[in-house]
Symmetry: C2
Subunit: 118 residues, 2 copies
DNA sequence: CGGCATCCTCGTAGATACTG
DNA sequence: CAGTATCTACGAGGATGCCG
């Protein structure tokens, strides 16, 4: 463990680049909510629409494509009568779970904090 | 532990609200990088500018104000010859550390993954 | 049902110049 | 050094309508 250069300029850059990488993929208003939603189980397009309150079809479609491109989400089309499409997290998408958990945990704790103060 | 309604509509809403709350506070291109930067120690305005590659004075200023409003960052002005200002994480700001760690960890793992694939 | 095309709006963010 | 002011551009994101 010769990690003695932790505070070097280089280490900081790696640090920041990692933050940037993650945020590039999860940026925007909706991606994390979509991931959070799918982490509870696969869903249809319409199901996601209903579940994510506020999102429009265009946004959802676009965000899902982004997530699919990054290998986080798998898209499956079924040739049912009116076509249906199912989205689910890939195993890679599931690797975001601890991250999502932290975000949820912090958000809940934050809301509690605000209530106590006001 | 009667958390048996985990999958209820209500629980989902709380879930999503928490994600939304957190992202509202950490949204934007820079906030997480600023937090990450300050988590390594207090810094001057100029220090942050230099450390965060790419950010402009206006953005940095605005983002810092946001973070201060949310109680994540403490701003201290020193009446030195040319005025200097120091920024540091509050204890509340430090509560984001595990979150930031997860983001960094995932970002680094993601970059590794991409390298292996290409 | 899923989702693309079009149009439009508004916020975000950059460049530059200026102040205390 | 640490901002603020102004001006501008771009793109995220919403509304609507059409298509497989």
């Amino acid at each position: 463990m010769l990690k003695k250069l932790e505070n070097s300029k280089e280490a900081c850059d790696i640090h920041h680049r990692a933050i940037r990488d993650t945020m590039d993929i999860l940026s925007g208003k909706w991606k994390l909510q979509i991931v959070g939603s799918l982490s509870l189980g696969k869903k249809h397009f319409g199901g996601l629409m209903a579940h994510i309150d506020g999102i429009g079809a265009k946004m959802l479609s676009k965000e899902l494509q982004d997530l699919e491109l990054n290998g986080l989400v798998k898209r499956t089309v079924y040739n049912t009568k009116p076509i249906t499409v199912e989205y689910e997290l890939t195993s890679y998408g599931n690797s975001l779970q601890p991250l999502v958990d932290e975000i949820v945990a912090w958000g809940m704790q934050h809301r509690r904090k605000l209530r106590d103060k006001d």
